[in-house]
């Protein structure tokens, strides 16, 4: 190619000019030269850039020293030693291994202390189609932050199901909490029965109960959704993955060149709604109740969201719109999109995992909270009290966290008992070799603070203690008062890393509290009930929910943080079946059992520590 001459590089005209100029200059006087030189330099644009002012960057604020921690890691001395195994060591890169496991809190022996139940996960054969379940383990709470493994004692040592989640409810209304375990290719319903010598044990009752479910179940929630008094069951299903349907998804950053596939590579499996027949059996009401089949269900909560004394269902779906089943006298109307809780504020569906409902803004109404995938914002849908919600993650400070988190287990909790609900989130990636966000991610604690007349969540990781400083592959999260001191503790599960028990150490503060446990007549399920407590000029609302978080089941008792000077006034319970009862004269610093049939609240003494 001949070298073209471009104007920007041409020196020829300048050289010609100089020769012509030289001739003229020779003939003319020096004055014009001086004038020209003056003119020339006057018109010159200074090409040198200005020196870089560093002051603006240098003035950026620096971190302030961390105050005393709210949580301390109580795991090492607790006796709880457990790691959820997802089978990734087989390097099969299955979708199955991405979900992880949940955490269940259940007072299975009714000794007044929450025990911990942990689905075990499973393993894969390196070749072939073998999927092997690991046992669900149960750690009995002895008090004083001591636990003893009771897996074999309670009959949970069986293996088989590759497990994920758990849900707790007294499905046969015998007064003892039963246990549902979810997993790949089935459910396991464990009936809580006498075990001799005053002990309790679980017997598998899945078949008898009619809960034969061959699909891949994830989170489940109990609640009396048809108002007959018996707890019904909503089961989320994920995708139609199997070793027969296991495409290879390439990932350049992976040593093997592949990674876990996104759920969109598979068809979603429809969720199921099982109605309780009241005789220990269930019937599948999925089709008669218009339950949608186009979501990759991962999180579910049963709560009276529209405050019509009929429990509703909210489902967090991965990579599809979320569902809101509004309960109108036992008929279901899926109105997530209309209500504003199906999509985010950009009109896009999210990869939703964990869910919860709580009154974060003091409105007395349950707002919805959803943890989401990377490049998305965790969603706070504020309940507007007109059947609609507004995505307010930005206004409430949630979006300030950024979009690098893959959020899973979560829940509202009043960490410091100031009367305002805070948030805890377990985070961690689903891919083994992610490129956009890290594999291990720090757990997040968000403190609910005042900003003018609004409520605002501030990242309070620095106050959370050491646990909140390190990145992890978090999954299940359960909130509960493990030591009955009135301060919510946390149990958080991780994929292929030990479970962590976090003791709430904020109890040293001067804030007061009040705890309540609702008991319906004949052990009627109370999910969907609303409890309000007058504290000075404030009216605190707390909700008994079914399900919630991610693959997990937390403490169903309710805690009211009263702040420094708060004294409990009238407490009102609107039961999930619409009746309202009031209690007065409750004292702070205690748990009360509020029985539907008893006008007086039963003050509960802290259970003694078991010596073992």
């Amino acid at each position: 190619m001949p070298r073209p001459t471009l104007p920007s590089s041409s020196n020829a005209p300048a050289q010609q000019s100089r020769r012509w100029l030289g001739a003229l200059l020779g003939a003319a006087a020096a004055i014009p030269l001086c004038l020209a030189a003056w003119y020339f330099f006057q018109r010159q644009t200074p090409p040198a850039p200005r020196a870089a002012p560093r002051s603006a960057d240098a003035a950026l604020p620096t971190a302030t020293p961390a105050p005393a921690a709210w949580f301390e890691d109580a795991t090492p001395k607790s006796g709880v030693s457990f790691t959820y195994r997802n089978g990734e060591e087989a390097d099969r890169y299955t979708l199955l291994e991405s979900l992880g496991g949940g955490v269940g809190l259940i007072d299975y022996d009714r000794d007044g202390r929450l025990d911990i139940v942990l689905p075990g996960g499973g393993t894969f054969d390196r070749t072939g189609d073998g999927i092997h379940g690991l046992p669900t383990r149960l750690f009995r709470n002895l008090g004083g932050w001591k636990f003893a493994e009771a897996t074999a004692d309670v009959g949970l040592e069986q293996t088989g199901l590759y497990t994920h989640g758990c849900a707790v409810a007294d499905y046969d209304r015998d007064g003892w909490p039963d246990l549902l375990i979810t997993g790949y290719g089935g459910l396991a319903l464990y009936h809580n029965v006498p075990g001799g010598n005053g002990n309790r044990r679980f017997v598998l009752a899945t078949q008898q109960a009619g809960l034969v479910d061959p699909l891949w179940s994830t989170s489940a929630a109990w609640g009396d959704i048809n108002g007959d008094g018996h707890p019904d069951l909503y089961v989320c299903h994920y995708a139609d993955w199997s070793f027969a349907n296991d495409p290879i998804c390439k990932q350049a950053a992976s040593p093997s060149g592949r990674d876990v596939c996104p759920p969109q590579k598979f068809q979603p499996q429809p969720d199921q709604l099982y109605l309780n027949n009241g005789d220990g059996t269930f019937r599948d009401a999925t089709s008669e109740q218009n339950i949608r089949g186009d979501g990759y269900g991962l999180g579910v909560i049963v709560a009276d969201l529209d405050q019509n004394a009929q429990p509703d269902i909210y489902v967090g779906n991965d990579a599809t719109a979320n569902f809101l089943y509004s309960n109108q006298d036992g008929r279901w109307d899926e109105r997530g999109a209309a209500a504003g809780v199906a999509l985010d504020d950009e009109g896009s569906y999210n990869g939703s995992m964990g869910v919860d409902a709580g009154d974060y803004d003091g409105s007395g109404r349950p707002s919805l909270w959803v943890t989401n995938f990377q490049r998305e914002v965790h969603a706070l849908y504020t309940n507007l009290d007109n059947g609609f919600y507004r995505h307010e993650s930005k206004a409430a400070g949630i979006a300030a966290l950024g979009r690098q988190f893959v959020g899973f287990g979560t829940g509202f909790l009043d960490v410091d008992n100031d009367g305002w609900l805070d948030l805890a989130i377990a985070n961690g990636h689903v891919l083994r070799h992610p490129t956009i966000a890290p594999l291990r991610q720090r757990p997040v604690l968000m403190h609910n603070v005042s900003r003018g007349e609004r409520r605002f969540f501030q990242d309070a990781g620095s106050r959370g203690g050491d646990y909140f400083q390190l990145p992890r592959i978090g999954r299940g999260l359960a909130i509960g008062d493990l030591d009955n001191d009135g301060w919510p503790d946390l149990v958080i599960g991780h994929s292929n890393a030990p479970i962590v028990l976090l003791r709430n150490a904020a109890a040293e503060s001067e804030h007061h509290w009040l705890g309540v446990e609702l008991v319906g007549k004949d052990a009627r399920n109370v999910a969907g009930s609303t409890v309000t407590l007058q504290v000075g000029s404030r009216r605190l609302a707390r909700f008994v929910n079914g399900g919630g978080s991610y693959l997990s089941s937390g403490d169903r008792r309710l805690l009211f943080g009263l702040g420094k000077d708060g004294q409990p006034g009238r407490l009102s319970v609107r039961w999930s079946w619409g009746e309202t009862q009031h209690w007065d004269g409750l004292q702070p610093g205690s748990y009360y059992r509020l029985h539907e049939t008893k006008p007086a609240a039963e003050r509960l003494a802290p259970p003694p520590v078991v010596n073992r």
Binding site: A36, Y39, G402
Partner: protein, 366 residues
């Protein structure tokens, strides 16, 4: 005629004055031309295309027939990304004589920069033969821009490697980092894109675009830091809508609603019909529970852009906040209609663009 004659002396003095006057005039013209040219060159070296444009306009006023300046004006427009203007200016350039080659090259670079990557091999060979020439720099620049326009980030990064081998003035190094950031964004490598922009800001803290792109990249993941960069930009460019809008958006992301509202009010005072700002202002008002005010902003946005997706989303939000169930359904229906239209249009485009070779392969008969 004697030299001592007074009249002759006067005539000669007059002639000399005229000659000197003419010489001064010519010198002034030429010096001005050189000065303008140096201004243009300095501005282009600093990639200050706006300043280059001004100097070129002045130059073309003085020399409206200058083929060289016309071509340079076309080239400058292209390098700014004003491709339509570049084409318009290029059409005015003479393609005869010595300018034929440069104009032909400029036409080719214009096509290349617009994303037409065909036939770039001869340009590559030229760059190999004359790697340090000014033309090679211009060709590489157009190759990089064209690759980015064609969403071919690997090609862009390949040419960027050649670009970085050249001895580059600071402005070109900064531009190289910005291109690299674009390429990394195309590849979905947000961290690398941010690193490029950070390096650019480090190199040229005053560079508006570098800091603005960095702030935009940080807005999702690290909104706190984005807000700090936008604050710096706002201090330097207080009335720049391209800074005020992202600043307001980031402040809203951080929940700093009052500050977001203030930035939007400033922007709307400059551009009252800025639809995106009206939408954002309406949303901030909704979050501040100022529904009436929100309605005012959002209805104005709706008047201006009734089919704009963000406007409809905000109107749905507004209808929900004000409990207008029928309106929610109406706007959702409109949204569905518009999304269906967009999908249909996209399908048509894909259908038209699909080459015959993409037709399904027929199974051979047994």
């Amino acid at each position: 005629m004697r030299i001592g004659d007074r009249r002759v002396r006067l005539v000669l003095a007059g002639v000399l004055i005229v000659v000197i006057g003419l010489a001064l005039y010519q010198i002034g013209r030429e010096v001005r031309r050189i000065a303008l040219r140096r201004q243009v060159d300095a501005a282009l070296a600093a990639r200050d295309f706006a300043a280059a444009e001004l100097a070129l306009q002045e130059g073309l006023q003085a020399q409206p027939d200058s083929a060289e300046l016309k071509l340079l004006a076309a080239q400058t427009a292209r390098r700014q990304g004003k491709l339509a203007e570049a084409l318009r200016r290029l059409r005015r350039c003479s393609t005869r004589g010595a300018m034929a080659g440069p104009v032909a090259l400029e036409q080719r670079l214009l096509r290349l920069q617009a994303g037409d990557l065909s036939g770039g091999e001869s340009l590559d060979r030229y760059c190999e033969e004359f790697p340090q020439s000014q033309e090679a720099a211009l060709i590489l620049e157009a190759q990089i821009e064209g690759s980015l326009a064609a969403l071919d980030e690997k090609r862009a990064l390949n040419y960027l490697a050649q670009w970085n081998e050249r001895p580059l003035p600071p402005a070109d190094r900064v531009q190289g980092l910005l291109w690299s950031s674009q390429a990394h964004q195309l590849a979905g490598q947000v961290a690398a894109a941010q690193a490029d922009c950070r390096a650019a800001v480090e190199l040229a803290p005053e560079h508006r675009e570098a800091r603005l792109v960095l702030a935009e990249l940080l807005a999702l993941g690290e909104p706190d830091e984005a807000a700090r960069h936008l604050k710096i930009l706002k201090e330097r460019h207080p009335r720049d809508p391209e800074i005020l809008l992202p600043q307001a958006q980031v402040l809203r992301t951080l929940g700093r609603l009052d500050e977001a509202a203030q930035a939007l009010d400033e922007l709307l005072a400059i551009e009252p019909d800025h639809v995106a700002a009206l939408v954002e202002r309406g949303l901030v008002a909704l979050e501040l529970r100022q529904n009436d005010a929100a309605g005012k902003w959002l209805h104005r946005a709706e008047q201006l852009a009734p089919k704009y997706r963000e406007v409809l989303l905000a109107m749905i939000d507004y209808a929900r906040a004000t409990g207008q169930t029928a309106e929610v359904e109406r706007y959702q229906q409109r949204m569905r209609t518009i999304e269906a239209e967009i999908r249909a249009q996209l399908k048509d485009v894909l259908k038209k663009e699909s080459p015959p070779g993409n037709a399904p392969i027929q199974q051979p008969a047994p």
